[in-house]
Point group: C2
Chain length 534, copies 2
């Protein structure tokens, strides 16, 4: 059963090793957990639904309190605090579970007839408030696409697969694997997030270096809108005017409800392995990273932890004896204090993989990287989707954890990274609190890379004050990112939390262009209000 | 000096070898050339300019007849017929040569004050009527960006170069080469076409397999519009809402005038070579082509000629003795009648190139390809930008030549290719005329490829009847392309010639979305009327 107030499946728990506990205590002090609300109590607080009855759609709707609670919030830290405190803010007035594009069309017609807001809902994994209902007088209906989760068509020659937009990551991959294919889109939210959600929020997977971001994978599909049905035909490339796919990518449910999507798939690879290299310091590590991507070494993933993240990962890994051995091995080879951990993936035909590994190792060696083989890489691969479970373990010890991410050009990476870390580190010092901050580059491009920063701080003595701490951290850093050459999001999207910063990044004319599209597709502004644009 | 009525520099002429002459005579009969108009006579027919005088911009304008003639038409076959006949249709009332974004802004203000249409003009190489002035009562000012042709900024770490939008291909590359870099965008029009034109029309270069289409190269820039200045910031990737760059790409001068563009550059490669392989038949050749791209063999270009194009190329190559030797060599190895020529490019670090070549040869071998080394590839590379000159030689023999191109998914390639060739071949048979038709796949993707078809036919006994022949060929084939799963253009854009077919491809809702953007950026519809959207 999925947790109603946190990440993932209730049966799965990931604990901190004792060394991790000590590590955090030394960095930011002992935490004191806040009390969790229970589901029954929250159910009792759900108000009556305001949705007008309508025979055209009533059979699609669920108004039960638990269902409405389970679709009220995503996975941002404010969402987490809301769910844990039980003070959840607005609930949707109901949740619809359509099974076809026709049923989605019927829901749009219903919304227009009665002036109901619609919120398209995929896996509910947003960390920036995409699917949170607005407060206000108009009723809100969340449209959960979870029943539209099947492989609808497979064109093996063109390597195109068409899915219902509500298909979650594991069902995308299992339905393809049965036929010998993979999509290769593996965001950390993979376990729960859906194809439609990836498209609507411009998601990026951990192996985007090989498979591309969702922008490169999304070939076409079907969007039901208030202005009619938009069919995006699949062509491999086109110079026929502005690309309408690119208007839908990142539209975050403001223009319509995606019901089907065709995506570009690949044959299951013959070989896949993940390798770890340690560098003596950040400068050499970053230079190696940049060279690997600018030289087009055909890696499938590449991430680079800074020294603080490297230290944190090793502390939280458990197995202190083995880690000590590793660190001795590395120190002898020049990677001691300040060392940085790089993980890279190699995927594809065996012959190509051999050539790529040789190229990658040569580049790393030329920057004094110490290659350690695939053992740590295998660990990374095993845990790649389980990190969100760690939040639960930290929460129960009285720690809040959140991430911030952006992307910027290589010439700005260090300056922006340092600003972000510095700002987060000192932001709670007026409260006498430390924030533990560490960063990795998670996606690399010839032009630049993403910067993915994690910050851990102690919860305050109340939910309100904890939320206030988060607001300060989030707001000041978001403002800083868009004022200093970063995008407000490389992979999480805009939602409601980032909406205030989007106009700073894009400028008024670009925002007005997006608004013009919004008026075109949704003239009465019924879809997902407050998301993407305030 | 640039030809006023054809392609390229007057000093350059490419002649047909005698064998090419024979080949065409056998296929479609002896041609009878039409008489060319001369420039002085056309100058005498240019009407007075209707542009209102205005001290704010008068110093930027040129109203002389020759300048107006030289900016009146592009390089489509109708353009060619218009220039050759001297019956040129509407001329711009003047041509402006701004040198800065501020001057472009002044021109926009002028256009609004006086109700003047503006046509942004890059290299004038459009083959679909992008820059042709409309007929009508409003004066038309063509804005030539040729003086905005400098490298403005180079960020070596981020591999970003910023150019004036009017920079033509050779000046893009020479300014970068001096610093050790390349953009790697080489459309056939490279000699004359400009960076701004590539962006506005979603161009694709011959080595897009390595460097990407212009969509992947365009990182940001500056667009002057009637609604204000749009600055597109450079970030390597973003999930911050719909991508506004992708609205400008392919906007064909309807939304604003691009004045600066930042593009993603690469280090000059250590190695580059082009290789030719012959396959016994189309099926095996196409299968090899598809496998090379779906297996992600890191080629920099890949094109595949069908049997008729292979035969034509060999006939037009000259050196009949050598060609006979080659054909004997190939026949012994199984590539005889029906053989298909594949050219692939390998570019990059030496070590990577060696690995890639081995991979590519192994794939070709497994499909019975006969590898012939780099000699023919070198020939291709030498002639890669000179093919348009051949049009002049054919014209002087009484032949008209044009191309049609599209892209489609692999599962549809053969069906669409056959339809296109069949339709073109039989279209003039009512006139008792043959059309010589041949095709190559010029750009390949995992999902599909482009189809690039050349057709040669005899000019009729008048310009009007020649144009009518072309119209029949073009219209029926364009209709067929968009009705059968192709895009109306993979690399030439929409312009005016393709505008009637765009709504069939995109559908009414997508067209209305693009129109909504047009109204936003250009509420009085002063920019490039009739292009992109009728």
């Amino acid at each position: 059963m999925r947790r109603w107030n946190g990440w993932g499946d209730e049966a799965v728990a990931l604990d901190l090793p004792p060394e991790g506990d000590d590590f955090l205590r030394q960095r930011i002090g002992q935490g004191t957990p806040l009390p969790d609300a229970d589901l029954a109590a929250v159910c009792a607080r759900v108000p009556a639904s305001r949705l007008p009855a309508d025979p055209a759609v009533d059979h699609l709707l669920d108004h039960t309190p638990e269902t409405r609670i389970r679709h009220a919030r995503g996975q941002s830290l404010p969402d987490w605090l809301a769910m844990r405190s039980g003070d959840m803010g607005p609930f949707p007035d109901g949740v619809a579970f359509p099974e076809s594009s026709d049923e989605v069309t019927a829901l749009l017609a219903y919304a227009r007839r009665h002036g109901v807001h619609l919120i398209p809902y995929g896996g509910g994994t947003s960390v920036v408030g995409h699917i949170n209902p607005p407060a206000g007088a108009q009723p809100v209906l969340t449209v959960a696409l979870s029943r539209m989760n099947r492989l609808l068509d497979l064109d093996e020659e063109s390597r195109l697969a068409t899915f219902g937009a509500g298909t979650p990551g594991p069902l995308v991959e299992s339905q393809l694997r049965a036929r010998g294919y993979t999509l290769g889109h593996f965001p950390q939210s993979f376990e729960l997030s859906t194809l439609g959600g990836w498209i609507a929020s411009r998601s990026s997977g951990q192996q985007s270096l090989r498979y591309g971001r969702i922008e490169q994978l999304f070939a076409g599909g079907r969007l039901e809108t208030f202005a009619g049905t938009l069919i995006l035909p699949t062509v491999p490339a086109s110079s026929a005017g502005p690309d309408v796919r690119e208007m839908i990518l990142g539209s975050e449910g403001r223009f319509g409800i995606l019901t089907e999507a065709s995506v570009r798939i690949s044959q299951l690879p013959e070989h896949e392995s993940f390798h770890v290299v340690f560098f003596p310091d950040w400068d050499r590590a970053r230079a190696a990273c940049r060279q690997l991507v600018q030289d087009r070494v055909a890696l499938s993933m590449l991430r680079l932890s800074n020294a603080r993240e490297t230290e944190t990962q090793l502390a939280l890994a458990g197995h202190p004896g083995l880690i000590r051995l590793l660190e001795r091995f590395l120190a002898v080879r020049g990677a001691d204090q300040g060392k940085c951990l790089m993980t890279f993936g190699i995927t594809g035909r065996r012959r190509q993989c051999r050539a790529t590994l040789a190229q990658a190792r040569a580049v790393c060696r030329s920057h004094d990287g110490v290659y350690t083989g695939t053992r740590l890489g295998r660990k990374w691969a095993e845990k790649r989707f389980t990190m969100p479970y760690l939040r639960e373990a930290l929460w129960q010890r009285g720690y809040a954890v959140d991430t911030l991410e952006t992307a910027t050009d290589w010439s700005n990476v260090d300056a922006l990274l340092n600003r972000i870390e510095h700002n987060l580190s000192r932001q709670l010092s007026d409260d006498g609190e430390h924030t533990h901050v560490f960063t990795h580059l998670s996606h690399v491009y010839g032009q630049g890379c993403s910067i993915y920063t994690t910050y851990v701080f102690r919860v305050a003595d109340s939910y309100e004050r904890t939320l206030e701490r988060w607001r300060r951290l989030k707001h000041t850093t978001s403002e800083l990112i868009v004022r200093h050459g970063g995008t407000i999001s490389h992979q999480h999207g805009v939602g409601k939390d980032h909406a205030p910063y989007l106009p700073i990044e894009k400028g008024p004319l670009a925002m007005a262009a997006i608004q013009a599209l919004g008026r075109h597709f949704d003239p009465e502004a019924l879809l997902n209000p407050g998301t993407l644009m305030e």
